[in-house]
């Protein structure tokens, strides 16, 4: 348990733990599986978060997650409705799944803490 906490702390310090937006994008890629490219990922992220997601923010995050080893990408075929430009597909790697798990357990801990002390003051 102590080791796991140290590991999470190390990840945070090394900027390895995913933020909320990264977790949202990771779950969007997992949701769309084989069809996970920019357009459905962005639409899904907007639907789930209720906020507008720009294409610039999306690709900046995708690039960063690829650098961290959370995801990998491959190029698809060019489409006529895209001006002959190819799609870039993404898939979640093992490190991405572990990061998503860490994010979820961190959120659970925060939630539990709030449940134990809903007033926010001294228990």
């Amino acid at each position: 348990m102590q080791m796991k906490r140290i590991h999470i702390l190390e990840n945070i310090l090394n900027n390895r733990a995913p933020g909320n937006f990264e977790a949202l994008i990771l779950s969007a890629i997992l949701f769309h599986r084989e069809d996970a490219y920019g357009v459905p990922i962005r639409q899904w992220a907007e639907e789930q978060s209720g906020k507008m997601v720009s294409v610039g923010a999306l690709y900046t995050t995708l690039d960063r997650m690829e650098d961290k080893g959370y995801i990998s990408s491959y190029m698809g075929e060019p489409g006529p409705n895209r001006g002959g430009r190819a799609k870039k597909y993404f898939r979640v790697e093992g490190a991405g799944l572990a990061a998503l798990d860490e994010w979820r357990s961190a959120n659970d801990r925060i939630k539990k803490g709030l449940e134990l002390n809903p007033a926010g003051g001294a228990a």
Partner: protein, 181 residues
Amino acid sequence: MSKKIKAVKRRAMIDAFLDDIRRAGSEHGPIADSITMKRAGFRLIRLPDGTVAYKGDIEDGAESTIYLEAGRVEAIQTHRSDSIELYGVSGGIARRFLHAPPEAQVVPPRLAEYTFYLIIRDKNARSVILGDLEEQYQDVYSKFGRRMASVFYWEQVMLSLGPLIWKTLTKIVQIRHWFAR
């Protein structure tokens, strides 16, 4: 002659010509008379594939291209803001096709696209982003029209400027940091 009367005359001339096309024409289709076409404001152009065509603007923003073969009309394509009308003349029968998918002809605002050329230097990354935006632009266009599609595109450009510029700056800082080591 006032501009308004000229425009009305020109419009009537084009309508009469289009009516000719719509009716079952002669065996080879109606002849595109160069004088009539010039008066109607069309200019003769040669397309890259060697085809000859008349191209011109009709009032209310629509643009027509009249494709010719040996001086006779082969097809007319009219672009309007909300639809594309394609007229074909073959085998003596004038046919009208309204099913031409508008997205096949729709192009996003050039200036907005160019903005991405300025801020994204990586060719592949730029191509993927522009492809995604074009796909969504065409989707919005088919549902809400050109104006809303342009608003959508420009909105994406404006919102993307911050993250993309920030990414470029952090990359420059990383490179400088690497050289300084």
